[in-house]
């Protein structure tokens, strides 16, 4: 079994805070906590390391180098950390884990549940919960090793309780021995009789705090973004009616309104008759142009962003949002009118 281990500068023995800018390096065999893994039966083939500051400041470049090493000799399992409560180290572990898992490499890590690296991994790693500091090393390594052994052999670690890892935010299907109807009836009887029961689905929503108000719109660039499926008449780029895989942008410089029949909606999740009669009701270009003329807003961004928001997996939609938001940021947009259907 080929095991690659990722460490930061400190645990790789490159130095302390003064070495936090250390470039990515590849070291043959185990070092630092990797030797501890050997004691519990996991022999590390190669160690990769990078300074925490270096990774934070030049993420793309560091990641490219680290991933290229993984590509050269893909491991059966990648172990990152454990990073305990260290935010920068945990973040690097999480990002590398995310990339490795996208390449099909199983990843095990260890972190305190509040470490930002847990979110950065985006469900790509089996992360063992650890103490916030290195005092928990021995216990963490034993649990990391157990998972690494299972994954390295192509096994299934089971659910988070069985496998001893933090829920990855994934919902995996299994076949129950009883129908949903029977489970519902039993759950209701338990609830009525005051017996213990366990809900099968608990909310795990990404709560987005509203941003602070823009203090002065008269100088702001405002953009229009919508999932209403609004496109130029004829749908020139073939936006799909549901389960979108892409978002689109269309120029609106000099356009005063999204009037029919110049625009239409291809959305498959609502009755489109009213929207097609006046596409401005989906993407309110006419109204925002008026605000621009009146000087209420500084100016409108030169393109509007569009997709269809129906049956789209949440992860896909989140990626759309991040990509569009990045473009808006780069363009200096300060406010967005986001119309949903």
């Amino acid at each position: 079994v080929r095991v690659v281990h990722y460490l930061n500068q400190f645990f790789a023995g490159l130095g302390g805070e003064e070495a936090a800018g250390h470039e990515p390096v590849r070291i043959e065999g185990a070092t630092g906590p990797g030797r501890g893994l050997a004691a519990v039966g996991i022999r590390v083939t190669t160690t990769l390391a990078c300074g925490d500051d270096r990774f934070a400041e030049r993420e793309d470049e560091c990641l490219e180098r680290l991933v290229s090493w993984l590509d050269e000799e893909p491991p059966d399992v990648l172990v990152c950390g454990p990073a305990f409560g260290s935010g920068r180290y945990g973040y690097a572990c999480g990002v590398l884990a995310r990339e490795a898992s996208r390449a099909g490499i199983p990843v095990v890590s260890g972190m305190h549940p509040d470490n930002p690296g847990v979110l950065a991994a985006e469900g790509g790693a089996f992360i063992v919960p650890t103490s916030s500091n290195v005092a928990g090393m021995r216990e963490a390594l034993a649990r990391v090793a157990a998972l690494a052994r299972t994954l390295g052999a192509g096994g299934d670690p089971g659910d988070p309780n069985e496998g001893g890892y933090l829920p990855r935010g994934l919902r995996r299907n299994e076949i129950s021995s009883r129908t949903g109807a029977d489970r519902a009836a039993d759950m209701l009887l338990a609830k009525l009789e005051g017996r213990p029961f366990e809900s099968e689905a608990v909310p795990a929503f990404d709560r987005v705090a509203p941003p602070r108000a823009v203090p002065d719109l008269s100088g702001a660039i405002v953009a229009l973004v919508s999932e209403a499926g609004c496109v130029p008449q004829g749908n020139p780029d073939g936006l799909v009616s549901r389960r979108a895989r892409a978002w689109l942008r269309y120029p609106i410089d000099g356009v005063t309104g999204l009037d029919a029949p110049g625009y239409e909606t291809v959305h498959g999740g609502f009755d489109t008759a009213a929207g097609n009669a006046d596409p401005n009701r989906l993407v309110p270009l006419d109204a925002v142009r008026e605000l621009e003329t009146e000087g209420v807003i500084g100016r409108l961004h030169e393109v509007f962003y569009t997709t269809t928001g129906v049956d789209t997996p949440v992860a896909t939609a989140a990626t759309f949002g991040q990509e569009i938001a990045q473009e808006l940021r780069d363009a200096g947009v300060q406010a967005v009118v986001l119309t949903g259907t």
């Binding site: 829920p167 299907n173 076949i175 949903g180 489970r183 519902a184 009887l189």
Partner: protein, 420 residues
């Protein structure tokens, strides 16, 4: 507590172990022979259907059914076949009592590509039923043979005309199969008696709150043949009426999470509550509610009215079911909230799209019927029934979402999503 006029529903279940093509339809000792030509000819006589073909498919066949509209359990009112599927096919008479004959082990499945050839009209999602491969393991319609009505829509006729014809054709084929079998049956029946007689008054009264939807042709659930949007909901209905064909489907959203007609006819939830009646609870009846309402106020009003009706029935607890995906889950959550605030303990059955679509703090007892976003392993059928002409079907990974009834939120599947 028995209600005036609520006579027991007695269902004679005829087992179907084998289904074969034949010249005429007969049932004998578990073998159903189906006269395909007659059934196809009847379907083709419906307006708006340019072509109808009938097939028999078996579990394990390398066959995929595409553009599936509905699945129906063959059933007939034994003493009055003309009221079978009242309103939708037969006379609009109250059902849920008296004798019914039902075939166990076979479905009638209708397929029809819904998009117009010029792509002008919005296509409904294409539901699949695979008779083999990974999707067969999670579909309630793959484990038994099926009579497939593969219909082609006349492109010159409005969608709603062809759709109504497709519904009638499937219901009629289901009725006629059961009628022929009932005629031939001399033995081999299993008799099910569904009765809500008087029970110990100290048992907790429980109701089921069944959410249906009605948004126009292709998106309608029918109650006694009328689209639910034309009814005054929420409304009380006896569970026997639902099991006896009073509720039929013409709603073709989200294939995995919709409720084909067969799921109402077979409902394991209603049957379980019947079975518990007099033992652990008193089954106080079913409340039909409408989901997919247009705004928050409408949703809240429907939820509160359903909870008030449950209170009126003396319910101490309720099981809420959900139709399809998306904003109908808000209707479910508000119904749970209204019940709990009214002192009625509530459980709801929901499918997940990578996770819950909506949630309220009161919803502390949810049954998950699966994550419809999960992809199944790739499988390539050798033959496809129900596709548009000229479409090729390769080996691809199908999301659970596409598999008819795989995550029905009436709770008849065994799928469940767990954290990983």
């Amino acid at each position: 507590v028995s209600r005036a006029g609520a006579e027991p529903l007695v269902i004679a279940h005829l087992p179907v172990d084998r289904v074969r093509e034949a010249g005429t339809t007969t049932w004998r000792d578990g073998t159903l022979e189906v006269g395909l030509a007659d059934i196809a000819a009847l379907a083709q006589s419906e307006p708006g259907i340019s072509e109808a073909r009938a097939h028999v498919v078996q579990p394990g066949d390398p066959v995929r059914l595409r553009n599936v509209l509905d699945a129906v359990v063959p059933t007939v009112k034994t003493d009055s076949p003309e009221v079978t599927f009242p309103g939708a096919l037969g006379g609009r008479e109250t059902v849920g009592g008296g004798r019914t004959t039902m075939l166990d082990g076979v479905h009638v499945i209708s397929t029809m590509p819904t998009g117009s050839p010029d792509g002008e009209e919005d296509e409904l999602p294409s539901a699949i039923v695979d008779m083999d491969g990974p999707a067969a393991e999670i579909s309630p319609f793959s484990a038994t043979p099926a009579l497939v009505l593969a219909l082609t829509r006349d492109p010159d006729v409005a969608f709603e005309v062809a759709e109504a014809s497709a519904r009638r054709a499937a219901l009629r084929a289901a009725r006629d199969l059961a009628a022929a079998a009932a005629h031939d049956a001399t033995a081999g029946e299993r008799t099910e008696v569904l009765d809500l007689g008087e029970v110990d008054a100290s048992l907790p009264r429980i109701c089921a709150i069944v959410q249906i939807t009605s948004e126009g042709p292709g998106l309608d659930t029918f109650v006694y043949g009328r689209p639910a949007s034309e009814l005054s909901l929420p409304s009380f209905i006896r569970p026997g009426e639902i099991l006896d064909g009073a509720v039929t489907s013409g709603a073709y959203e989200s294939p995995a999470a919709r409720n084909p007609t067969a799921t109402y006819q077979r409902s394991g939830l209603l049957r379980r509550l019947y079975a518990e009646h007099g033992r652990s609870l008193c089954f106080a009846g079913v409340i039909l509610t409408l989901g997919y309402l247009d705004d928050g106020g409408e949703k809240r009003r429907m939820a509160e009215a359903a909870a008030a009706l449950a209170e009126e029935l003396g319910a101490a607890g309720a099981v809420g079911t959900t139709y399809s995906l998306g904003n109908s889950h808000t209707d479910t959550m508000l119904t749970v909230q209204a019940c709990e605030r009214g002192g009625i303990r509530a459980v709801a059955i929901v499918a997940e799209e990578g996770g819950l679509t909506d949630h309220v703090p009161e919803a502390d007892a949810l049954v998950s019927v699966g994550n419809v976003m999960e992809l199944l392993p790739a499988w390539e059928p050798a033959r496809v029934i129900g596709n548009e002409p000229g479409t090729r079907e390769g080996a691809s990974r199908t999301p659970v979402l596409d598999v008819l009834g795989a995550a029905t939120q009436l709770g008849d599947g065994r799928l469940r999503a767990v954290s990983a």
